[in-house]
């Protein structure tokens, strides 16, 4: 028999109200111990919450949800208390004093929901992100996963893999048994390529973690191009030391900025000098190169001709004469607020585009890793004509995806096989 767990399930106090959740076999008796008679299922009732000695702690709404049709699959009680720190602490203290109750460990409610089959793994992970989500964009992404967008996508990929594997297996296992002639000479390559293209596109999109951390905007360019001034203007504080001496920024500087509901992680980098004798500056340049490589958006403040692919090209120091460049996407200067606002607008446009395409299908790191493993296996399948190896690689590719959904891959393939072909003598 599992323990009964409880936790504050709303935000940290102080707040207007605080929701305490109790889940497990003793949830109902806990509610009765604290608030007297348990209200009818799913009906909010106002009760006085008292400690073991009978001292009133708060007036709270009490809700009782009998299992298994609850979020965790167990009996569930919610106490909606006033959200002061002292009240919450007192009610938590009173709950902990009840027999069989203990505070929940992080993620334990979700884990129980998963174990009791209330949600699948993809949903569980989406839910965890939702609880941490701070912005509207992140919330939408998390919601999509919780509602099974990722689960549905993975299930769809598995179905397609099963169908390909079934046709390959039909040739391997039933070559002799007639009636697979319509599978004869089946070339899995086009279907595999299509799947791979989709996976690589999905993998190229930023992950859920990335969205949660913020879109990485990296400012880069040659020394003394005005990168740090721009960084400060965007961050709106003197985070970077700005001097007119080339090579001042020797390491990378980062700042998290929220703008128009979109989280950004801004990075200022060392100027990319072609050669330097300064060891510290050289390390800074190496780090800048690494930051550029991991950027979701790159703001390039150098000559357009040598801009990295996909970069937003900025003509810096727009307040000074003779720096304007016709090849730039935008002219900016830290000293001209209008140009900084224009840059923000451009960033928001690009960010929304990125999020609109990928928002519904952002993967968590673990899902990404599984998909990357599957893609690596399928890449090998695409590069051989030995059906035996194709089948082996399909099996290897299927396993991490089936793992995400907790499914049996072989059985799914056999179902596809026998559904499609009239096999056997």
């Amino acid at each position: 028999m599992s323990d009964t767990i409880f936790a504050l399930s709303s935000g940290r106090p102080p707040a207007a109200i605080a929701v305490l959740r109790i889940s497990g076999p003793a949830a109902r008796t806990a509610a009765e111990a604290l608030a007297g008679r348990c209200p009818p299922p799913r009906r909010a009732s106002l009760r006085t919450v008292r400690d073991a000695a009978g001292a009133p702690l708060d007036r709270a709404l009490v809700l009782y949800f009998p299992g298994p049709a609850t979020a965790t699959g167990e009996d569930l009680v919610e106490l909606h208390c006033h959200g002061g720190r002292a009240v919450v602490a007192a009610v938590e203290h009173a709950l902990a004093a009840l027999p069989g109750l203990r505070p929940a460990r992080p993620g334990e409610f979700t884990r129980r929901a998963l174990e009791n089959g209330r949600i699948d793994l993809a949903q569980a992970q989406g839910l965890a992100d939702l609880l941490e989500a701070e912005t509207e964009t992140q919330r939408r992404t998390a919601l999509a996963a919780a509602e099974g967008a990722v689960g549905r996508a993975v299930a769809g990929w598995l179905d397609r893999l099963s169908a390909i594997a079934a046709r390959v297996e039909a040739q391997l296992d039933f070559a002799d048994e007639a009636d697979v002639e319509d599978a004869g000479g089946y070339d899995p390559a086009p279907a595999i390529s299509a799947l791979l293209a989709e996976w690589h596109a999905t993998l190229a999109a930023p992950s859920v973690e990335r969205l949660r951390d913020g879109i990485r905007v990296v400012i880069a360019g040659p020394p003394n191009a005005g990168k740090s001034s721009l960084f400060n203007a965007l961050v709106d504080r003197d985070a970077a030391i700005v001097t007119p001496i080339a090579g001042t920024t020797r390491d990378i500087l980062e700042a998290a900025v929220m703008r128009d509901g979109i989280p950004y992680r801004l990075t200022d980098t060392a100027g990319l000098a072609e050669a330097t004798d300064d060891e510290v500056e050289r390390i800074g340049i190496d780090r800048a190169a690494a930051a550029i490589a991991s950027a979701d958006m790159l703001l390039w403040m150098g000559a357009p001709a040598v801009a990295p692919r996909g970069a937003v090209i900025l003509a810096g120091k727009a307040d000074l004469p003779d720096t304007g460049s016709n090849d730039a996407d935008l002219a900016v200067s830290a000293r001209l607020p209008d140009t900084v606002a224009a840059l923000w607008a451009l960033l928001a446009d690009r960010a929304r585009m990125m999020l609109a395409i990928d928002g519904d299908m952002a993967l968590r790191q673990s899902q990404r890793d599984a998909l990357a493993d599957a893609a690596a296996a399928l890449d090998l399948a695409a590069r051989t004509s030995d059906l035996l190896i194709v089948a082996e690689q399909l099996r290897v590719a299927t396993r991490p995806l089936a793992g995400l959904l907790g499914r049996d891959a072989t059985e799914a393939m056999l179902d596809a096989l026998f559904g499609r072909f009239c096999l056997g003598k």
């Binding site: 002799d176 048994e177 099996r395 003598k425």
Partner: protein
């Protein structure tokens, strides 16, 4: 009652599972009684006259590597050899032969006769005898008793067997033979989980009435490969098979006859195999196809019977005649025995452990169709494992278990005892995740040491293996030329090298599996003490009764979260 005969192991049933079980137990030194309704029927091929194929050929070679009978008897009776998937990698090449039924049966008899410690007892098993809850032996229909501490049930389709053809019904496991009624009732009364399955067989044709000249012949392979590497000497004369196909007219006749088909009238409840469907199933499920292939397989050198593989049916006899005669080359064909479907009892194999022993009644083993499988080869491989382990029980020896990475027989038994069956189980190479390593051609390399350790190899086999293992070692070390070793060994070593990178990757997977296989998990009531296991998970784990984390990971529907809970529990209790 005359006197009580005493043995170490009694095997009930003389089919492919029973004969392998009896011989395997005897090879391990047990005194064995092989009990059969009719001694003459021992080793009968009830259905098609072929042995081997994809997945199935792998099983035959594995049984052979453990010194079983099937491959050698197949060679002795083979009148047609065909290596399937010849153009593909060795891992999916499937050796298959057509056997002369009479010669195959005679070869099985010879091999059994030559097996020491084995006695054939003619009689019908009526019931298991129990002393309280302990198994003591078998009571025969004539009320005599044979005693043994271990019994292997290999009763095929005879448990509660019922034959269907059109509106005709007959009790029996094979046409013309009695079913085992009392035994079936006793198993049900023991509270064992019994279910129904069905299978079928096509009509047999008189080969002299087939117009062979109009059909495409399929000759036997030219190169002189054999089922068993122990077989030497010339082959029997080889016969060609022929291929024809059904057509629209055939399908119309079948559709018109469905009214009194027991499959479609609901008379048969048991689920049939998806991969060996009756012709009426094929026409019904794949209605858009304009034809289905039929392989015409001769049944013997001095037997005119032909087995039309592909048209298993339980339609009424007159419909069968019309159906056959609508096919090219069969316009004047005469049916000698009409096809029929048979529905039979089987045990939910999840009640068994990996030795094929029944948890509920120590000493009782089950092998073959009684466990929900289909096919001679699947039956033989289970018989072998049940026999080796029944001998172990009687003689207090070590159990013999093969895991999924060692053998197809390991894959099959693991599937059966953990997943159960929803239709007759057939071996497929696709079921073996370590397919690249488990090839039909390397069974000897994979299993000889395990057979040696189980003490089930004859003197002759051990000498044969020692010689060939030496060849492999020398060839790998570059000490001999390819031309100096047996040709099959040269191919085997070459194929090993070809797939080496994939085999290395699989080796890591296998390590992981075996590591998890060493983590014991609780069973039965103890599952309820594990935090975080839902009732649904407990139910699934209770039915399949996995004993290790690795086994639990393959029980259908067991979630990663449940596995995590089991793992955490195992860590805590370690």
């Amino acid at each position: 009652m005359f006197h009580v005969k005493q043995f170490d192991v009694i095997v009930v049933g003389g089919g492919h599972a029973g004969t392998e079980a009896a011989a395997a137990a005897a090879r391990r030194g047990a005194r064995v009684a092989l009990l059969s309704q009719s001694g003459a029927q021992i080793g009968t091929m009830s259905c098609n006259p072929s042995i081997g194929g994809l997945g199935k050929g792998h099983l035959v070679r594995e049984v052979d590597a453990l010194d079983g009978l099937m491959a050698r008897a197949a060679d002795a009776g083979a009148i047609h050899y065909r290596m399937l998937n010849r153009s593909k990698g060795l891992a999916v090449q499937g050796p298959r032969i057509q056997a002369d039924r009479r010669r195959y049966r005679a070869a099985i008899h010879d091999l059994l006769t030559a097996t020491p410690n084995l006695t054939i007892v003619e009689g019908e098993a009526a019931a298991l005898t129990l002393d309280h809850d302990r198994l003591t032996g078998v009571r025969l229909a004539d009320n005599s008793t044979i005693t043994a501490p271990a019994v292997v049930l290999a009763t095929g389709t005879f448990l509660g067997g019922r034959i269907y053809r059109g509106s005709e019904r007959e009790a029996g496991g094979r046409v013309g033979e009695r079913p085992a009624l009392e035994l079936g009732e006793q198993l049900r009364s023991l509270g064992l989980p019994m279910r129904r399955l069905k299978t079928g067989t096509p009509p047999r044709l008189d080969g002299r009435t087939i117009d062979w000249a109009r059909l495409t012949p399929q000759p036997s392979d030219d190169d002189p490969w054999r089922m068993s590497p122990m077989t030497y000497g010339p082959r029997l004369p080889q016969l060609a098979c022929a291929v024809t196909r059904t057509n629209i007219a055939t399908h119309d006749i079948i559709r018109a006859g469905l009214d009194n088909s027991p499959l479609f009238s609901g008379a048969i409840e048991g689920q049939g195999p998806r991969y060996c469907p009756s012709i009426e199933d094929k026409v019904h499920r794949f209605g858009d196809r304009d034809g289905h292939q039929i392989f015409l397989e001769p049944e013997g050198l001095d037997d005119t019977t032909v087995y039309p593989n592909g048209i298993s049916t339980s339609l009424a006899t007159d419909v069968q005649i019309a159906m056959v005669r609508s096919v090219e080359g069969l316009e004047r064909a005469v049916i000698t025995v009409p096809g029929y479907a048979v529905e039979y009892d089987h045990l939910d194999p999840r009640a068994l452990d990996h030795r094929l022993a029944l948890a509920a009644l120590p000493g009782l083993f089950c092998a073959g169709q009684i466990n929900g499988t289909t096919g001679y080869e699947e039956a033989a491989a289970q018989g072998l494992i049940a026999g080796l382990n029944a001998a172990a029980v009687a003689r207090d020896d070590a159990p013999v278990i093969f895991d999924r990475a060692s053998a197809y027989v390991g894959v099959m038994i693991d599937d059966l005892v953990l997943q159960g069956v929803s239709e007759p189980y057939r071996m497929l190479t696709a079921r073996a995740e370590y397919r690249l390593a488990l090839r039909a051609d390397n069974a000897e390399t994979r299993l000889s040491a395990l057979g040696e350790a189980a003490n089930c190899l004859s003197e002759q086999r051990r000498a044969h293996v020692a010689r060939r293992m030496g060849q492999r070692d020398n060839l790998r070390a570059g000490q001999v030329a390819v031309s100096e070793v047996d040709p099959d060994i040269a191919r085997e070593v070459e194929e090993d090298a070809r797939y080496a990178p994939y085999l290395a990757r699989q080796a890591e997977e296998i390590d992981r599996m075996r590591r998890d296989g060493a983590i014991a998990i609780p069973t039965g009531a103890a599952l309820h003490t594990i935090a975080g296991l839902s009732n649904e998970m407990i139910e699934r784990l209770t039915t399949a009764a996995p004993t290790t984390l690795d086994e639990a990971s393959r029980v259908r529907g067991v979630t990663p979260a449940a596995l995590a809970a089991l793992w955490l529990h195992a860590r805590k209790s370690a």
